[in-house]
Structure formats: C-alpha cells, structure tokens
Symmetry: D3
Subunit: 339 residues, 6 copies
Amino acid sequence: MSAKIVCFGELLVRLGAPGRQLLLQTPQLEVHAGGAEANVAVSLARFGHRAQMVGVVADNPLGEAVTGELRRHGVDTAAVQRADGRMGLYFLTPGAIQRPSEVLYDRADSAFVRAGGGQHDWPALLQGADWLHVSGVTPALGAAAAEGTLKAMRAARAAGVKVSFDGNFRPKLWEAWHGDAPTILHAIMAEADTMFASHRDLEVVLKRPFAQATAQERFAAAAQAAFAAFPHLQRMTATVRVQRNVDHHALSANTALRDGTLHTTPSYEVAGIVDRIGTGDAFAAGVLHGLISGMSDADGLHFGLAAACLKHSVPGDFNLVGVDAVEAFLNQDSFDVKR
Amino acid sequence: MSAKIVCFGELLVRLGAPGRQLLLQTPQLEVHAGGAEANVAVSLARFGHRAQMVGVVADNPLGEAVTGELRRHGVDTAAVQRADGRMGLYFLTPGAIQRPSEVLYDRADSAFVRAGGGQHDWPALLQGADWLHVSGVTPALGAAAAEGTLKAMRAARAAGVKVSFDGNFRPKLWEAWHGDAPTILHAIMAEADTMFASHRDLEVVLKRPFAQATAQERFAAAAQAAFAAFPHLQRMTATVRVQRNVDHHALSANTALRDGTLHTTPSYEVAGIVDRIGTGDAFAAGVLHGLISGMSDADGLHFGLAAACLKHSVPGDFNLVGVDAVEAFLNQDSFDVKR
Amino acid sequence: MSAKIVCFGELLVRLGAPGRQLLLQTPQLEVHAGGAEANVAVSLARFGHRAQMVGVVADNPLGEAVTGELRRHGVDTAAVQRADGRMGLYFLTPGAIQRPSEVLYDRADSAFVRAGGGQHDWPALLQGADWLHVSGVTPALGAAAAEGTLKAMRAARAAGVKVSFDGNFRPKLWEAWHGDAPTILHAIMAEADTMFASHRDLEVVLKRPFAQATAQERFAAAAQAAFAAFPHLQRMTATVRVQRNVDHHALSANTALRDGTLHTTPSYEVAGIVDRIGTGDAFAAGVLHGLISGMSDADGLHFGLAAACLKHSVPGDFNLVGVDAVEAFLNQDSFDVKR
Amino acid sequence: MSAKIVCFGELLVRLGAPGRQLLLQTPQLEVHAGGAEANVAVSLARFGHRAQMVGVVADNPLGEAVTGELRRHGVDTAAVQRADGRMGLYFLTPGAIQRPSEVLYDRADSAFVRAGGGQHDWPALLQGADWLHVSGVTPALGAAAAEGTLKAMRAARAAGVKVSFDGNFRPKLWEAWHGDAPTILHAIMAEADTMFASHRDLEVVLKRPFAQATAQERFAAAAQAAFAAFPHLQRMTATVRVQRNVDHHALSANTALRDGTLHTTPSYEVAGIVDRIGTGDAFAAGVLHGLISGMSDADGLHFGLAAACLKHSVPGDFNLVGVDAVEAFLNQDSFDVKR
Amino acid sequence: MSAKIVCFGELLVRLGAPGRQLLLQTPQLEVHAGGAEANVAVSLARFGHRAQMVGVVADNPLGEAVTGELRRHGVDTAAVQRADGRMGLYFLTPGAIQRPSEVLYDRADSAFVRAGGGQHDWPALLQGADWLHVSGVTPALGAAAAEGTLKAMRAARAAGVKVSFDGNFRPKLWEAWHGDAPTILHAIMAEADTMFASHRDLEVVLKRPFAQATAQERFAAAAQAAFAAFPHLQRMTATVRVQRNVDHHALSANTALRDGTLHTTPSYEVAGIVDRIGTGDAFAAGVLHGLISGMSDADGLHFGLAAACLKHSVPGDFNLVGVDAVEAFLNQDSFDVKR
Amino acid sequence: MSAKIVCFGELLVRLGAPGRQLLLQTPQLEVHAGGAEANVAVSLARFGHRAQMVGVVADNPLGEAVTGELRRHGVDTAAVQRADGRMGLYFLTPGAIQRPSEVLYDRADSAFVRAGGGQHDWPALLQGADWLHVSGVTPALGAAAAEGTLKAMRAARAAGVKVSFDGNFRPKLWEAWHGDAPTILHAIMAEADTMFASHRDLEVVLKRPFAQATAQERFAAAAQAAFAAFPHLQRMTATVRVQRNVDHHALSANTALRDGTLHTTPSYEVAGIVDRIGTGDAFAAGVLHGLISGMSDADGLHFGLAAACLKHSVPGDFNLVGVDAVEAFLNQDSFDVKR
C-alpha cells in the first residue's frame, strides 16, 4: 500500500572526511545529501511510497546536486524551490572507538532559512497527501522557519492530513538566534498526531524533569505528560540508545499510545557502525511506513527499529535499504553472504 | 615439499562496491579476480606449490586481466584457454553489521560455460600432477560443465591422481538451467578422495536429512553416510561457522575419516571481518596443503582452519598469505605490530 | 518553451578504466549510465524539457542505479519497466594520443533485448508528446527490438508526434544476430521526420555509394537520395568530424532540408578531449532543442554543434551542460574562469 | 637575499570537483587552501623569503587546516588570528576545452569579513618588514575590510615599508554589498609603490576608457594615467593573456615605470593547463622576488612571467615551485625527464 | 601553561597499504610522516606547547614533505637540517583480526643516520627549553646516532633541562649494526629524569629477568631496579597492553616514582582500532603534557593513557587530537555525535 | 614467430605522485614496476615472445610485488633471485607543460647492486635463447653490476645468442661510485650485435664529439665510428625526440647498418603525453620484435617507433599494448572509438 507523504525541511550538503580521518587531515571530502526530513523522504521512497519534498535550495550547482540526489532515490522534488543564496552545509568528522563524531554546521543564512517556508502554497501541496512530516530542526533555524513549520502543520490538520513531528532538538541552532525553543516547540507539538521524541525533548518543552529510574519509565512518564499537554497527539515513540563506544551501540525502542499502551522492542547490538548519521530519521521513516501500511503499533515499532539498525550499516545520511531488507532483518536466520 | 595441483573451474571477475557502500551508491567498482577453484589455486601457489589452473576465459581484456592475476600470484596459466564469448562476472555489495553481503551473479552464457571443460586434454594436463581439485560450482553451471567436471575427475582417477571436491552448493545456479543436482553431484562425489562438504551438501545428494542435535553430530552422521555411499571417499571435512553478525563469526572445523576417526579444532572468534568471500576456498587450500605436506589429519585440519580465519582479514577472493603467516597464527603469542 | 520528448532505447552501465589506463590495468572501474537514447533524454532534460525514457532494465541494483541516474538528471523514468534478466554493460578503455578508445560490449541477452519494446503501450506513452526519439542502436540489438522500434515510430506517426531517428550504425551488433540491417533500417528511416545520419548510414541502407569529392558533397548527395527514398523525411543532419588524433578533433555540421537547402556551421577545434562518448547524442539533443524551441534550422544546427563540442569536456556519456553553457559557447568572448 | 614580506588578506578553502568533472558530478571534492594574498605568501616562502600572513580564520578545523597548509609551505602564521564565525569557501568546477572553469563563492559573512583587518596591530606587524602585499579582493569584501586594507597600507607607508597592490578586480564581490569600488580602490592605489594591474583595473578606478589598438598600448596608456593619478606609484605591471581555449593560453607581461620605461617579455605558449587558479598571484610573487632580490625590472618581469607560466602546471592555488625551477624555465634547454 | 620541548630523532616517511590490503596488493601507497620523537613533538604541539624538532632530513622532496608536515601541525622545524642522502622509509602492511600489522624498515644509511646528531649545537638548541625528549630508536640506528643521543642528553642535563627517554627497544635495528644495546642504553638511561619503559626494556639493559606473576608486579620490580641503577631517574612509566586481537586491545598504565609510589589507571577497551602506530608516542606526549602542566602524577598518567587510547582512532603516526578531546575522554558521558 | 629473449637488469619500484601533482603534494603515491630491461621484457612478452627476466630482488613484499607484475604480464621470472637487502626505488614527480618530470633515485645498495649479476649461471640461462638484452643502466650501478653485464654478454656471444645493448647513459649513477663509464661501456659495446644508442652515447665512449649539422648526420657519423670501433656491431638505432614542451614531443628514428645503409622514419607528433617513462625501452622492444619476426630493418624500425609513440599513451613504465595495436598505428585510418 503506497501513500503520499509530504516532508518539509532543509536540504543540506554534507562534507565528510574519508575513512576515519580527522576533517581535512587529507585534502578530500566525501559529499552526501542530507537533512532530517529529506532523510525520511528518501527512506519512504525506497519503501515504495510517494514521498514529496518541500523546501528551498540555492539556485546553484550545490542546490541542484542535492535535489538531484533526492530524485535519484525516488523522491518527488517538484515542490523544491530554487532561490538566490547559499546552501546549508555541514562538515563531518567521523569518529571512532572513543573519539565521537563531530558535526560542524555551516548553514546560517541559507536560502532555506531566508525563505522560511511560509511562501509555499500548503493547501495545494497537501492535496491528496496522507501525511505531513516535519522535524524540530526546522523551527530551530529561525523565526521564519518556525512560522513556516507551524503554517504547514496547521494546513495539514485543516486538510485532514496526518502530521508527524520528530523532536530532533538542536540547542546550538536555537541559541544562534536566541529562539524561544520551549514556546515554539510547544505550539508545534500541539499540531502533531505522531511524535518522535524522548523524555529530554519533553523536558525542554514542558519545562519539567522526568527523572524516573529507568529509560522506559522516563519515556512513559514523558509520554503521559505529552498526551496531557497535546490533545491531538495520539502516539509518541523513541529509540533508546546505549552507546558502548562510538562504533558499538545497543538499540531498542518504545511507543506510547494515548490509551496508555506501551510497546517495546528487544534490544539489538549494533557493532561496527558504518554511519550513525540519519539513524533517527530511518527510525521515523520505518515507523511511518508501519502506520501507513496498516501494521500494528507493535509491528511498526519493530519495523522502525530494524530500519534504524540497518541504517547504521549504510554510508551517508539516507537509509537506502528497501522493505525486503528490513523484513529480512526481522526474520534474520543468517548473516551469511546472499548469493 | 612442493606438489603439483591441477584446479579446474571458471575464472570470474568480481566487481564490488568500495568500503561498505551499497552497489553503485557511488559510481566506482573495485575489481578482483575470483572463482572457487582459482582461489584454491592461488592459495596453494602462495603456499609454495605448483598450482595449475585449467579453464576457459573470454578472449578479451577481462579474460586477460584475471588470467594475469593468477599468474601474478604464481599460478601456472598455460592451460587456461581463450575463446570467444563473455567473462563470467559477479557484483558484490559488501555487507555490514546486520546487513548481509549480496552477490549478484552475471555469469550466464560465459565462454567457460559454453566450452564446458570436456575439450581439455585431461590425460596430458594431469601428467605429473599430485591432485586434481574441483568444486560443486562448476557442475552447477550447465550440462557441459557437469560433463567436463566428471571427465576431469575420471581422468585423474585413471591416472592415479588424487581428487578433491568442494561441495559449494549453489541452488540458484542449478535452478537456472533446471539441472538435476542430486544425480549429478552423486556421480561427482563418487570420484572424490577428499571432500569438503557439510551435512547440508549430503542432504541434497543423498536425499535424506541429518537432524542430529549438534553440528558435530550432524557432520559425523553425514560423513558416515557419505563413506557408505562413495567407496572411493577417504576423507570429509568442513568448517562450522557461527555468525554473530555480518562482521563477526566464530569458526571451527571437523574432519571425518573412513575409519571413523573424527578430528575437530578449537573455535576462533573472527571479529571485524574484512572480506568473507573465498574463506571456504582458503580452508580447502589449507587442508590440501596439509595433506600434500604430510601433516597429520589433525594438524592439516588446524592449518586449514587457520588459513580460513586469516583469509577473513584479506581483501578480495584470494588468500594471499603464506605458510609463515598461517604458522604464526597457530603459534600466535602476539597480535602486535611486527617490526 | 518546454516540450515532452519520449526516448526509447536501452539503458547501459558503462564500466571504464580510470584516467588513461588500459582496462583493468589497475583494479578499479568508473561507472557511468549510458545508452544513445538515454543520453539524448538527459541532455534534453538539462535543457529544460520533459524528457521521458521508455525501456526495460534488469530488476536488480544495476537497473535501479541507471534508472536513478536518469531521474537524478531530470528524466521521467515512470515508463522504464523492470524485468528479470541482466543489464547491458559496456567496458571502456579510454584512449589517448594515437591509441584509440575501445568499447567492449557485454550486452547480449539483456532484459531490454529480451523484451524488445513491443510490450509498451505506445499510444498511451505518446499521449501529449511532441517528439519520439529512437536510434539505430536499438534495431541492431535483435528482431524484437527492431519490431519494437518500428511499432513505436508508427504509433508516433499515427498520433501526430514528430519522429527523430539517429542512425548510429553499429555493424558488430547487427552481425551478432545476422540481422538484415539494410531492410530493417530502410523501414525505420521511412518513419522518420528528422534523421541524424551520415552518407555512410545511407550507403548501408540504400546500398549505393556516395563517393563525391568532399564531405559536404557526399552528405548533400546522400540527403538528396534519402529525401527521395523516404517521403516523410523532412530533415537530415550530421556532424563532420576530422580527427587529428585521439584527443583532438575538429567538428562542423550540416543540415539538409527536403527543399534542397543546406546549412553548415563553422568548424571548431576540440583539443584535449575529456570524453568523446555521447557527443553524437549531445548533437542530436541540441538539434532537437533547436527544433522544439523554434530556432531556425541554421541556428538549431549551430546550437547542436556547440552542444556536441561542449560534451567533449564532460566526463561520462551524458551531456550535463545547460542551455546557458551552450549559448555562452556560441557567444564566447572569453575562456577565462567565471567568478 | 631573503626578505620579510607581510601579506594581508582572507584565507579561503577551495572545494573543487576532481579531474574535469562538473561540480558534484560524483560525490567527492578536492580541497586546497587559497586566497590571493596567501598564494603570494606561499610562493615567496618557497622562493626562500620570510613571508608572514596576516588575517583571521574561523576557530574551527577548517581555519586550522588552511593555516596549517600555509605553515607547511613555510609561511609564518603567528599573526593569523582565530575568531568565531565561518570560513570563506569557494567551489570550483574545473573547465576544459571550450567550457570555462567556474568559481562559486560562498564567503559572505566569514570570520575574516566580520573582523575586517583594522584590529591588527599594524605597526608591530610591519616591524622589520620589507614589503606589504595586499590585493583588490580584500576591499571588495566589505567596508571593514576596505578600511583594514587602507589602514595596513598607510601603516606600511608610515613605517617605510614598500607596498605592493594587486588589482584583482572582482565585480560580483563589490556588487554584493554595493561597495563604491572606484572611490575605495582609488584611495588604495594611492598608497601603492608597485601595482599589479591591467588597463581594465584602471578603467574602473579612473573612470575612463583605454581603447588603444594593441594590448601593449592600452597597458602603457593606463600606466601613464596611473602614474599621473598616484604620485607614490613607481611601477605598474601586468600579464597579457591570450586564451586559445580553456586549456591553452599564451602569456606575456609588461612593466611600466614612472620614468616611462616599458619592459616586455616574450610570449609563452601554455598548453595543457593543469590549474589556472592562482597564476596571477604567482606572477606577483615572482615580480616581488625580482624586486627583493635586486634583479633589474626586465629580469624580474621575466622571472615573474616564468613563475606564472609554471604555476599553470601545478594543481591547487599555490605556486609550489622554487627559484631553481623558475630559473630552469628561463634557461630551458630541455623538457625531458630530469634524472 | 605552554612549555618548550626539544625532540631529537629521525623523521621517517611511512608508505602504507590502503585499507586492510596487503602491501602492494593494489598499486597505491598512503603516505604519512612519522618517527617516534616527531610523533611526540606533534602531539605536544597540538596540546599547545612549543615543540621543536631537531634532526636531519634528506635535501629532497621527501625530506621537505615530512618537515612540512611537522610545521603544518605546529612543530618548530628551524633546527631540522638538510643534508645529502636518502630519507628513512618504512613500509606498513596494516593488519586485521588475527593478521598482525607488519613494518618493513628501509631506513639504513639515511641522511639522519649518517649525520648522527653530534653536529647540532646542543647548548644553543636547548636554551630556554623545559624538556628534551629522546627515544631508544635513535641509538639503535648506529654508533653516531647513539653518540648524538648521549651528547644531547648530557647537554640538557648540563643546562638544567629535564630529560625524558622512551625505551622503544627495536632488536632488529640494533642487530643490523651489531650495536651493544645493553651498554649504550645503560649510559642513556643514566641521563633520564623520566623514562617510558617496560620491564622488558629493563631486562635488556640490566641483563636480569623480571618474572613476577603480574604485569604490575613486573613493572614495579623493574622500576625499583631502574631507580637503583640510575640515580637521576625520578619516574618510570609504561602502558600495559592486552591484545585481544589485532583490532581490539585493552590499555592501562602504571607510573612508578623514586619514592616507591605506584600509580595505575583503569583499563580501557580499545576496539575497532584504526591505527595502532604511534600510540606509545601519544602516551609519552600525554604524560609529558601532564608533567609540564603541573598535573599530579596520577592525573598525568591518566591523561597520557587517554591520549594513547584516542590515538588508536586517528589514522597515521601522529596523535592529532587536542587537550579538549583528551579531557572529553576522561569525562566521557556520551559517545554520540557532537553537533 | 615467438622467440626467447633473456633480459638482465634491475627491477625497480616506481613511486609516483598522482595526476600532475608535485611529489607528496598530497599523501598518496601510485606504484608501478619498472626497470629499463624489465620494460623491454614486458613489451616483448606482450608481443607474444618468451621473455625471461634475470636479476635479483629483495626478499620482501616489494620484491615479490614487482616480480609478480612481470609474471602478470607474461614474463618468465623463474630466474629472478631473491636476496636479503632492499629494493631499488625511484620517486617520480610527473611534469606538465614547461615543468619537466623529475626522477629521484633511491636505489643505492639494493639487493641487485650487491649481487651484481655474476652469480647467475649464464650458460644455463642462455640455453635456447635467441637474444640477450642488457642496458647501460646496469653497469652504471657499480663495479659488480658492470662485471655481471659483461659476463652475461660474453656468455651469450659464446653461446651464439645475439646481444642487444641499450645505451641509457645515466651520468648521476656513474658519478655516485666514480665508475669509469667510457672504459666500461667501451668493453660492453664491443659485445653488442645491435645497439640502441645516440651520438651522445658514442661521444662518451669514444671520447670525441659528433658535431654535424643535423641530428641525422650526427647519428650517421656516430654509427660509422661505432662500427669502426666495435667489430661485432651490426646495427645501431635511436629515436630522435624533439620536445615542443613536456607534454608534446615529435618522434622519429634512424637505424644505421654496418654496410652504411641508413633507414629513417617519418616524424610523429605525440601530443598530450600520458607517461613518457619507458618509451625508449618500448622502442627497443619494438625493434627487437622486428628483428625476431624477420621484418626488414626499415619495417622493424617503423614498428619500433610506433611502439614508442604508443607507449606515451600508457600509464606506467611498461608498454602494455600488443602487436595488433602497433600495426593499427602503422595502418591508422581512424582515431575514433573502436566498438
């Protein structure tokens, strides 16, 4: 069952050091397209859905390149506008062992940030859509982008389109323009049907701690508070990530429903990580696929976690695996070479 | 003690994605020469033996390149014929973590498959040889190749040359031409002195299950059945591979002799796998080296397993390490840099 | 003015040696998507038109990759079907100085060749189209592909869609299946409105020599004969290529019209060639752009030649430059760095 | 004879497509450090002088990398300050044949531009210096940078340090902030002892055309006007570049002295250009080396031109050749391999 | 608190196989600058100290390249002399899993070895220095180098400059010239204030075994013997490395003081090693940083071990991380991406 | 007609900067096998002859790699001995435009130089051989190598094996050990049947100038003198190379026979040179092929020159083209892509 999902957000150019080198240790950079919402769009397209990207890129070869990458992977880019200005960039120093990866953002004053998002004809774009997906990165970019995000979400709600929101809290981005994160995110969360968020995101927005003993209890308490605060919210979900070192994590996930149900998954050891960037977006896309495809919440959560685990094995920001690979993960009886 | 071993089979060109990328994620392919029997030939040459490859390659730069690679590593390629047609290719998507590697064969209708193998002057080629080595990949390629394999084995037996056979069961290849695998493989196994095969290979050929509780028991039962079915067979050997994930396996090995003796090795953890392709062939070459060199069956089995473990650390299909490296593995007192 | 152009033909995977190396001199291959008609489609998409590719690719990562490359560059691939089978490949040894480049085709029995093209719903595909573009490579691939080409052209003619045909005569492909090139190509040329062909193409089809003294006279005589033989034909055009060495050509072009008019361009020195593959397709796309955009035949011819010249500076099969770059070529007042 | 030369300007990170590819045609970028004045500093350091860079870089790994590159080549970077903000970047699409190279600047709002240059303790920095070198790129970056440039030049003049100025007129940079180029550059040229400038630079500043028949006459007339307008100016020099195509230029150079003397060089064919960026800076460094080393103006001009020609053979922005290589060029009796 | 540390030793060019390939498996080599004492110098420079390298390089592009690399990373190379002769090289085959890395030295008769080190004006070089650092590699290179090492150490002691010595015992180097390692090293150790050495180094020099039951007991006993033998010695320190396989070690460290105090650290698992070369030098630099910065011995030991652990994640011989990264390791609360 | 040619000389490892970079401008080296006589052996093997290499390599992975490369290209390496010591290396900075390529030799004290060549059992090695080929590089390496060369030549003459000698005069190598080049080379030339030498080689040996007006006259005069001095000499041949710049040469060639006949070829423009190293060896191999194959001297000279021209288009030291490619050059009717 294929659905149409509209994703709104900034496309980024990632410039990363090769292998495990430090940034510019040797004079080469590997380039990937990225952006939290674009990552979701690509994954959904690879899962067979009609994913449409909405946003603005610079009217130059960088903007053309990242738009082309989305198209390459099956995302509809007809609603990606071009404008004067610069592309948002980020430089990545891949980590290893006990040296964490580092992201150096160079995205201030991009064509996307200047435009904000209010300029799109949201009712037209959302026509025939099943879902709108946005994330907390966009409102963190500036007042206009925050406005644009809200405008898009409200247009979706008005049109009967489901809305998913991924917290993706980025303190440095908010600080850069002294944005009032709690207030803005509160307004945004109020429009979401499904939310990808941890107890930490809720701590920021609800301005209260969740200090329960276990990760699961903290999540459940935060979800309960979220359902109380946001009447439209039906579902909150998040991964739990235990980091043994930079290259080896253990992942599980929880989904809380408004009726108090809590689903949880087994924990998977993800050792020998190839690329950790975009794994949260892969989770979101997997969970959305479950919802769209009519899976149960438990199955969809498991599907999303499997997608997230697999993303750790794929270089770049995009989760390029298909539904078959995720299902093979869930039914895994062999890790051997497939011939 | 250097011996002459004749290896018969198809040479392949492997086209693999670099690093841990998906196939054609970026527009580059890394090329390796391969082929189950060629892998054995190269390893034996690196162990100091006179390994001779017999087969057919396309009369074009691809055929020349893989033949040249064998020569580079010391294999005698005088009996590799050139013919019109195409080279067998395979595309490799290297896996990672919980995403298995994938092999995409593009070897149908190759010059080798067209020729089959019956055209070689086997009595001449086997003159002065100590062993003939073939594998189950070749008869799986088509009727002519199955015929050629049998012809070579029977010529060897007639000439008093020992015959080793590696099961290497590839269902997809058999299915592609609706080959009668059990019948053909039964005839082939009947000609082998030493067989590299698991209980699963014997299940296919003997059309009966081996459902004992442990891997070792299944192997022992299958070996017993094999000795009953194949009066020439003196020795059956196989690795036991426990796959913790794509990058981390544990390996041990068993050898069963006609007299009922069962040898087994310790289990080695092979973590951070560089390249899993060709590890079974590395095992075969190691065991053959043991036999040729006059090692005891127990020592040869251990040598073969060590060779197989080491192959996991070498990129490409060939096990390029020498006898010294295998012996160092067996006597390992340090993993530190050798200066 | 944007138009819809349907391009029918096989998508190919090009596997080329890097730099000026011989094939597999080092174990790396650079991959490009290609195919004569796909090259035209990409160039037209880069020129701002709605280019739609029709064809069949293998249902595997290679097929996915080349389809994705077309999408990346803006070509509509909704009508590219997936089927079991293999992708057509070609290996490229790039030449240098006095050593010509060499193409090694490995495209026999591809999914495209098996399907042929008759299976497409041509009336539906051509709805709303302005042009259908095919080339002589497709009928050279086999009887089914020849049938499919004719079917497509006739459907276009029936639907009032203009038809362009690029000769692209490849003797080796015809010889491989003993196809009757003159008869088949005669039937095909009879359906073309615009033809990209040299006097040599017409010699093959009309089975008569054009031995005039100069290139221009041979072209004019061949065009005259073509107009006589093919009543639908309105326009024949071709480049004239003088090859000083592998890296340095001089290019000009001629267009003959049914009314006897002959347009010709200046000759351009193209020295330090980066990639000669696809330059004929770049010419075809440029001329088609001129026709679609309402340029005069003379201007369109000049535009096409400029596009062809520029293609020599772009790695790969596709002419990735836009209209601006071609116009800059035509108005060139500086070769200096544009800042 | 080694001298101390202070170079003031912005350090840039160049991100270029490999080979002759279009930008992001494949997902890799080659990185070089650059910047007009840094290029001069590096070349002078390679010629054996004490070159000191003054400027501001971002306090992040990019700033560290380009500063490190200067140090690597022998430039003193003790006066390169670090500050919050971003590094100036530029993306390079290398051209070929008739497709010009393209520079895409992404340097707005860099740490250097924010700081401007007025914050340096110029009297201290210039102590013991023989020359200050600045270029027209810096004042084009904004009002503060223009102020900083003038401040540096005036401090040099006050301290008896010779001042060289390279016009490097970049209209797009001036337009971006609506800077009054003629007025500002007039004030700057008034402080220069030696000026690298063409008649076009003077047309901008003096707001009058130089439309003489030949390049040399235009240069001579512009120089005459410059000496009239700028009483401190002693010497004006420029290359003459005839561009046969993107890869093949012919270079000569002229120097005009206040006393009316005009020196000129032979013309050199520079064919098969490897990297044209930074060749003007290489010329400036070569001429400065001549002046510092006590060469005659004619010899220094020839040395500068030779340095410029050689730079076309060196990848990147820096002219990494030493005095020996330039002298070998001037005495060239063989282009053969030096063993 | 920044200090001046003088490091004396040979600069080397490392030529390594890429990835996990065997040496020259493919025809490419990755180049790094190295040398035990240079590694210490670079790490100290990255920690903010004034590190000065003393030594001799070949007067050719290789010598220039490694000197430039040191400068790039902030080391003062004014005292690196150039001389006729060759550069010391070493070829590295990186290991994996159970296949150890292999170093192939090609450093005989280098310009450094010929010069030895006695030619430097040690009193002048050590003026204003806080520490002199040398290692056991240098005296192992030949009689002149051993003389030079002693001369430098004695000059330091005479000038009141602290002396650190890193054992780095390399039997093959000593054997190559039949050097009397115990006698020479005894004389050298007698000049050290701080010594990086294991019980094995002391076994060589003191010609007696340390066969205590545990690593810590052996170290303590060796230290006690060292303090007895070398009256100037104040401190002996060493890492303890448990090698689970080539890619996975566990590291801890001990420091023994003359007063009998023994400091020890926790053990850290270092899994997924990127580059093991230079990790001992990274430890030395970290401990020296602690001493220079006024840390307690316990804290300095921990800092040194953390630096050593982090080096395993950095390609090449140099530990390029800064103080911040080491402190983050010591306070590690997350291995997640830093944004 | 296939012949057996024995080539005696040193195998070298070439370490070259990629593209047109200066040596170690970026930290990568491309590796090729080389050596003047090995280059001849490889070319003859590619032409279908039984080429046998005689020499000594270091008993380490470098020696193994270059030996393997020769085997890969079909050279018999059974007589390549392994010995302790180092491999001869050379570093290559590829030139461009007016910047000449530079070779930095690092071959002193190699295993080959230590062994010299006298240790081979020359009568046995030459059994069944048609030709022995040596060059002036070998005697330039030291007294033992000069002795070995003479010994080999005299053994060949004794056995009725034809001897070819390529002058390859390398002054720096002779100077390094103060070898008496004229005397030694005189003795060597006295043993040659066919000599590849220019008038400059003869000037060195005969200690007299050849100052005729034209290149051809100088060659003819030198040949006349050579025939007078060396009674065994039947044939002297050389290329004439006019270097327009580093990337563009013009090549012709002359052969003088004892009977006074002088053959000459047309001149070919070789523009856009890919790799100039080994082109003289390619010429020698081509001429030898002509002699072996029974071509006339005129045809063989032309064949040799064509081979030399083609070598300029092949990266590395080896001329990897076959007889077909050379014949295509001689019959060249098109430089277009061969499909």
